[in-house]
């Protein structure tokens, strides 16, 4: 439910933008909505410019558009997957300014000037990233739908460990965290794989970490 404060905010925003408000319509009692609903107008949009996989992109978007939908529906970068749209599954994981995030939980217009790396930016079928290659070798996937998110997460996880960022299972917060299976499992737990390839995914990441080390 909306608080009255939110209502005021959205109403001001709507008046400023000169557009019909979804919020005002919802408050009209049933039965009178038709009479009260103003003519449909375009929702508020905003421009945003960011870099995706090294390429500058400029979009004018409905401000409600998530980064995930900007990638999938506007830039047609469909490698980033929508599994839940609620930050519960990790299929939409991308790397923004070096950190992995759930792209479904952030609005595209919040990323002005950001550098975004998606699965397409890591490698291509002809020139795969080491992590992509390791997932193929270790069969770290089955249906493939969570896979881009797993791989983006895995790449970022190894960077996080390298950067000394601790996790819930890091025993000694004073020491540098190590690439252990327990650390990897903990850090990868935001990426659900219902096909259950976890054992193979951890083998793939360990393999890549070994190569790096």
């Amino acid at each position: 439910m909306q608080t009255s404060e939110e209502f005021e905010l959205s109403r001001r925003g709507v008046l400023a933008g000169g557009a019909a408000s979804v919020a005002t319509v919802t408050l009209v009692p049933i039965g009178t909505a038709a009479a009260a609903a103003p003519a449909a107008k375009s929702p508020p949009t905003a421009k945003v410019a960011f870099e995706v996989n090294g390429k500058k992109r400029e979009l004018e978007l409905d401000t409600r558009t998530s980064l995930l939908d900007a990638l999938r529906e506007h830039l047609h970068l469909t490698g980033t997957k929508k599994g839940c749209d609620h930050g519960q599954c990790g299929a939409c994981t991308v790397i923004v300014d070096g950190r992995r995030i759930n792209s479904c939980l952030t609005l595209a217009v919040m990323h002005e000037g950001d550098k975004i790396t998606t699965i397409e930016g890591l490698g291509t079928p002809d020139k795969m990233h080491a992590m992509q290659d390791a997932f193929v070798t270790h069969d770290g996937y089955q249906c493939g739908y969570c896979t881009p998110g797993q791989i983006c997460s895995a790449v970022a996880v190894l960077d996080e460990i390298k950067a000394g960022i601790p996790s819930h299972v890091t025993a000694d917060l004073g020491a540098a965290p190590a690439v252990t299976k327990v650390e990897l499992r903990e850090r990868m737990s935001g990426n659900i794989c219902r096909c259950g390839a976890y054992s193979n995914i951890i083998d793939a990441i360990t393999d890549v970490a070994g190569v790096k080390a």
């Binding site: 019909a20 979804v22 319509v25 919802t26 009209v28 049933i30 909505a33 038709a34 609903a37 003519a39 449909a40 107008k41 375009s42 929702p43 409905d62 409600r64 558009t65 939908d69 999938r72 529906e73 970068l77 469909t78 997957k81 929508k82 599994g83 839940c84 609620h86 519960q88 299929a91 998606t118 699965i119 397409e120 079928p125 795969m128 992509q132 997932f135 193929v136 070798t137 069969d139 996937y141 089955q142 249906c143 493939g144 739908y145 896979t147 881009p148 299976k181 990897l184 737990s189 935001g190 990426n191 219902r194 096909c195 259950g196 390839a197 976890y198 054992s199 193979n200 951890i202 083998d203």
Partner: protein, 733 residues
């Protein structure tokens, strides 16, 4: 081609390519995000609009009124589909409830409208403006309370609701050692990662849907019936499926509403079910209440085996066939099974990975563990003692192959079973540690399956079949089969799947896909080989190898047979009565070690091993993945998966991936799988069986038995959450 006598030697037996742990051929696409799933097909139809589904807010009753004015007036809205304006729609044969509800409502979140708009954001916002007034009716939502109203369901899929051999009641009463226990399994959700999704487009009266579906031909037929148009006017295309587990066997609301939305909007429409809608809108594995009675002699011979199961479904639905395996798994002269079905007004129950056996073994294999303890026997020894090499209900009918004992014994040696101590006796710091075992059992099913193969003058072989790859490895094993048959390397084979324009396959379900679909490819390749030999004027015993066809002293490049134009062959594998003469089943043994926190009761799985005997393994790498994935799902069933039923309003409360907990990385240790060397000549020329469902069968019971061994606490109601252990754990020293 008809398969009606056991296979002899054939080109597959070379196993130069089949049977090798090849990487998946579509792997580079899946790992780079370039494999196209249903909702992502921007290229297939221009000007796609977005549909957003509205679900019913009541479980049973009817829509009193629906006000679409505000939604219609919202920005970007093009059309709104409801039962009121959709025209006459029939119900598909594979659906229990209608895919578009209204005015009558059959279950919570049954789709009642689709709002189509220019953008996803607009469609979603407008969908929230649909105003519905309902007349709610009383429904039945509580299985335990409905048990007394449960009736004997009619037989379906060859499953009799009641079976009896000998005199169970007398034998059980007379048995010196008896076990009589009640178990419950909750409702489960498939929770595949890719939501049900479809893009639909009409060209005149012809409909194309790019969708995510396991069974293409079934679903084309059901769509034709639902819409009242000829099957020939419908094309399904489903090359990549982001998980199914039975949840995408049939058409769901996305595909019907996309088709109706596209018609109303007069342009292509794409629809994905929002995650929070999926669990109540689609199907689930129904909860069961089971009673298992085992009677044995003092030395452990089973004399009486009884298994009863109660489950619920919507009117017209079917039972969860949880007693199925009990008819075949162990010897015993006196036996009975029974299933009873109650009407529940919850969402539609239906198949989820290993329907029947998965929940059935969750109960039966705890019961066997309990009986072993009563007998003072090792549970492996008890199972081995009661092995049967014939159908216990019909001893004249042998199993085609049955290596259950070898699975158990191989696993015991590998897992270190001899170190298992008595319950509650093993400590590792704060952890109570225990080991558990359970048998795995799942029948093998074969289905007719067709394929078309094309030979180009480049020597490339292209396979076309409407078979699907739901993560199972179909692309790869189909390619391996064609490569072996035509004597070409794997990279000379192209596989095209999931298009209803291709020959009809067995589809993906019931672990019948791998053996059935590759057998169809085998049949088509036999025809292509005949065409090649004829074209090249070679002897019929020509050898296909190394990209060449050799007969006598002649050796010709395979592609030369296509210099005048592509050679095309199509055939279908069909089956005689070998599956009646022989009981074809797959077997396994699951071993699990758990640690239970002595203070909190938290259960952690520490080790898992599966030993499987499932015919020829076409690709050990992909097959192993199927098994570890199923073990993971089994661990979920044991420890966390449970749809919580709101018994007042009739819906699954935890209807998203935060509320319905499935295993994550941190829950799953390294997993080991051993495949016993087998080739079953009674199943098909491939000599293979299914393995994707075998892997989940028995896992949860193995976990439950391990928890018992760790703690001495027997939990018979899944999932085994810590609240069921607290207060019963051994005293802390």
């Amino acid at each position: 081609m008809k398969f009606d006598t056991p296979a002899t030697t054939n080109p597959i037996d070379q196993m130069k390519i089949v049977g090798k742990p090849t990487n998946r051929i579509e792997g580079p696409l899946k790992t780079t995000g370039t494999a196209p799933y249903a909702y992502e097909r921007h290229d297939v139809a221009a000007n796609q609009a977005y549909g957003y589904v509205v679900g019913s807010a009541i479980a049973k009753g009817r829509i009193a009124s629906m006000n679409l004015d505000a939604a219609r007036a919202a920005p970007g809205v093009i059309a709104i589909v409801t039962a009121d304006n959709a025209g006459k729609l029939a119900k598909g044969d594979f659906n229990t409830a209608k895919l578009l509800g209204g005015p009558d409502i059959e279950h919570y979140h049954q789709a009642i409208a689709l709002v189509v708009a220019d953008s996803f954001e607009q469609a979603r916002a407008a969908a929230s403006l649909v105003r519905v007034e309902y007349a709610r009716e009383k429904g039945a939502f509580d299985l335990a309370a409905a048990i007394d109203t449960a009736i004997k369901p009619k037989a379906s899929f060859g499953t009799e609701p009641d079976t009896a051999v000998g005199n169970f009641a007398a034998a059980f009463a007379a048995a010196p050692v008896q076990l009589d226990a009640r178990y419950t399994t909750p409702d489960h959700s498939h929770a595949m990662m890719e939501p049900h999704a479809t893009i639909a487009a009409w060209e005149g009266d012809k409909l194309t849907v790019w969708t995510s579906n396991q069974m293409i031909a079934w679903s084309v037929g059901d769509m034709a019936k639902t819409l009242g148009i000829p099957k020939e006017n419908i094309r399904f295309d489903s090359p990549y499926i982001g998980g199914g587990f039975g949840g995408k066997l049939f058409n769901r609301a996305d595909v019907l509403l996309a088709a109706l939305g596209a018609k109303a909007a007069k342009r292509p429409v794409k629809v994905a079910l929002p995650r929070p809608l999926m669990i109540n809108n689609t199907t689930h594995r129904p909860a069961t209440i089971q009673r298992v009675r085992l009677g044995a002699t003092a030395d452990g011979k089973l004399t009486a085996i009884g298994h009863e199961s109660w489950s619920g479904d919507l009117p017209g639905g079917g039972p969860e066939t949880a007693v199925a395996q009990t008819r075949l798994l162990y010897a015993g002269e006196n036996r009975m099974t029974a299933m009873r079905l109650a009407v529940l007004d919850l969402p539609e129950g239906n198949a989820m990975r290993a329907p029947g056996e998965a929940p059935g073994l969750m109960a039966l294999e705890i019961a066997v563990d309990e009986l072993a303890e009563k007998l003072g026997m090792d549970p492996i020894a008890l199972r081995v003692l009661n092995d049967t090499q014939v159908d216990p209900e019909k001893p004249s009918r042998p199993f085609s192959q049955r290596q259950l004992n070898k699975c158990l014994e191989t696993g015991a040696a590998k897992f270190g079973w001899s170190k298992r101590a008595k319950p509650g006796a093993t400590r590792d710091g704060r952890w109570l540690v225990g080991m558990g075992v359970a048998a795995a059992f799942r029948n093998n099913l074969n289905g007719p399956s067709a394929a078309r193969v094309r030979l180009a003058k480049s020597g490339v072989v292209t396979v076309e079949t409407d078979m699907t790859d739901i993560g199972t490895g179909t692309y790869t094993i189909v390619a391996q089969t064609a490569a072996e048959m035509m004597g070409v390397p794997l990279d000379k084979v192209v596989v095209k799947l999931g298009d209803s324009a291709f020959p009809v396959s067995a589809g993906s379900g019931g672990q019948w896909g791998a053996n059935s679909s590759t057998a169809g490819v085998y049949a088509a390749c036999v025809k292509l080989r005949e065409a090649v030999v004829q074209k090249l004027g070679l002897a019929s015993d020509a050898v296909f190898a190394d990209g060449k066809v050799k007969a006598g002293r002649r050796s010709v490049a395979l592609g030369d047979a296509a210099t005048d134009g592509e050679l095309v062959a199509e055939d279908k594998m069909e089956y005689g009565d070998l599956a009646e003469k022989f009981q074809q089943s797959t077997f396994g043994a699951h071993f699990v070690e758990v640690g239970v926190d002595a203070m909190t009761g938290e259960v952690r799985v520490r080790r898992m091993l599966a030993v499987c005997a499932a015919g020829r393994i076409l690709n050990p790498k992909a097959a192993r993945s199927q098994v570890i994935g199923a073990m993971t799902m089994g661990a979920g069933a044991a420890l966390m998966e449970e749809l919580a039923v709101d018994k007042r309003f009739g819906f699954f409360v935890n209807h998203d991936l935060a509320g319905y907990e499935v295993p994550v990385h941190a829950d799953i240790p390294h997993q080991d799988v051993i495949f016993l060397d087998e080739a079953d000549p009674t199943t098909s020329p491939m000599k293979a069986k299914g393995v994707g469902e075998l892997g989940i069968c028995g896992v949860a019971a193995a976990v439950a038995n391990a928890v018992y061994n760790a703690t001495g606490v027997r939990v018979r109601n899944y999932p085994i959450t810590l609240d069921k252990l607290l207060g019963k754990l051994p005293d802390m020293v």
